[in-house]
Amino acid sequence: MRVLVTGATWGVGAALVRRLVEEPGVELVLAVGRDGADPPVSHARLAYRVADLGRARAVHDLVMGDARAHAIDRVFHADENALSSLDLVHACTNHPTIRRLVYRSFAEVYALGHTTANIIDEDSRLDFDPTSPRWVRHRVEADTALCARMHGPLSIAVLRFAEVFAAGARSQLWDYARSRVCLRPLGFDPMINVLSMEDAVEAALAALRSTAVGVFNIPGADTLPLSAVIAECHRMDIPVPGPLLAPLYSLRTSVTGLEFRYDLNFRRFHFGAVLDGTRAHEQLGFTPQFQIHWPAPWWQQFAAKLRG
């Protein structure tokens, strides 16, 4: 395999690059990061490029330039600019060497509410609500654009990942749980499914190796109520009336600069939803195996720091 990985300097992209360079059967990894970002690892099998994939010209030059020169045959797209997917799939289609594109999508593309199922399969409704946050709308657009091209010459797999609960993954829940005090809506304690970084990498690898075309949910090995997530992170759990949460968390963001946004999480903090991973199990051979490494209590972390 000769693999192009975008979004390679953070989160799933970076972890995948570190794994791919050690993987037998991988001849080359072309990793793409943004300006100012260092490559995730140094390795003889790694070629690193800097490109702003928010510009169509940059995408074209990457795919038709570096990717063609390196005879890339597979692409894993995890760039944070979701709309770059449209330019990328256009460039990869009819490419002389690229045969497969795996797109890292998000569970947040699914519509969630009191009438939706607790079990979300790949045929569940997507969130086309025009009032949804822009972050969600862009990802829905990218996801559906790739789905629309699924039966062309390029083999496409769209992986809808559950939330990767890890440092450096830009996880909303991880950011939420960084506070000593976690607020949640009074009277609601929905089920949350989270994915470990190890399982995210395993899923990506399985999809890159496979020839299966389609959309695949990638659930994690941890399904538990929101209150249990807070307890596992050793944080104080305080239920407050729902209307207070948005202003309180806006205040927190402006004061602390942390990234958790309540508007992005409003629905899943009320309605439980777990991805059904049956299709990924049957067609990609993926089953989540690795549970989350929950943070140790603060006193254990302090003791570990003292021990050096």
């Binding site: 199922a117 607790n118 609601f188 499914n193 059904d276």
Partner: protein, 262 residues
């Protein structure tokens, strides 16, 4: 010999998702606590008499019952009965109306006790995993009926029949006596709170201590091919057959009933 609490807190075939909960939020130890705490209600207040629970077969099962009362007390009594009487212990998954998840506190409490929102995907998952579900095909029309029509089955939805055919689930009609008299509705206000169709006004602030009876009919094992679930006529015929069985079960039960409060 395991106690009631132990049997419920550690049920066989529980689909633990890694932290003691299933993916719908069921937490068996909490359910066991509630069942034990509800023992005085079951044994002394409602004095529930149960017959035929041994008829509940293994594998996917749909319990179909008549429905009445301001709040689903009949559902609670039926679920308590299944938990106490079934051997080995089966956890009933009551299927709730889709406005339930909007209710603070209630939604969470129901989830911990095994209640599941009535979406197609949820019910499909439960039956594919061999669970026992509780459905009231009358829906809200059951509790909404006037007192003079008590024990008369109202609008009869057919979804349960389609599910039973598609997933080869056995259907057990269950006649519940006592729900009609326990908490009758004297008025319905057209106020829609949290998506509930109306605001019921009960005769009394709490359910009356009527004598409940729960009678399980022999299971109906369908010999249809799962593809028959796409044939509306076949589905309607199965639904009608179950309705007839339940009506007969209700009629037979009322004949031998000693009294509402005795």
């Amino acid at each position: 010999m395991a106690t009631l609490h132990q049997r419920i807190a550690n049920p066989p075939d529980f689909h633990d998702e890694g932290h003691g909960y299933d993916m719908f939020g069921l937490y068996p130890p909490r359910l066991a606590d509630v069942v034990v705490a509800a023992r005085p209600l079951y044994e002394r207040y409602f004095r529930v008499r149960s017959s035929g629970a041994f008829r509940i077969p293994p594998g996917p099962v749909i319990l179909v019952a008549n429905h009445a009362g301001v709040l689903p007390v009949d559902g609670a009594v039926l679920c308590l009965d299944v938990l106490r009487q079934s051997e080995p212990t089966r956890i009933p998954r009551a299927i709730a109306d889709q406005f339930i998840p909007r209710l603070p506190l209630v939604s969470t409490a129901f989830a911990r006790l095994g209640v599941v929102s009535g979406t197609r995907a949820n019910v499909r998952w439960l039956l594919e995993h061999g669970e026992l579900i509780v459905i009231f095909p009358e829906g809200v029309s059951g509790p909404a009926k006037p007192f003079r029509e008590r024990y008369t089955l109202q609008r009869w939805t057919v979804g349960f029949a389609e599910l039973a055919i598609r997933h080869r689930a056995a259907i057990v009609p269950v006649a519940i006596l006592g729900s009609e008299e326990s908490w009758p509705v004297i008025a319905k206000l057209g106020v829609r709170l949290f998506g509930a169709p109306y605001l019921p006004i009960p005769l009394s602030p709490v359910p009356l201590p009527v004598h409940y009876e729960v009678r399980y009919a022999p299971p109906i094992h369908l010999d249809n091919d799962p593809s028959d679930a796409d044939d509306p006529d076949v589905v309607a015929a199965v639904a009608d057959r179950v309705r007839a069985e339940l009506e007969q079960q209700l009629a037979d039960s009322r004949l031998v009933r000693r009294g509402v409060f005795r």
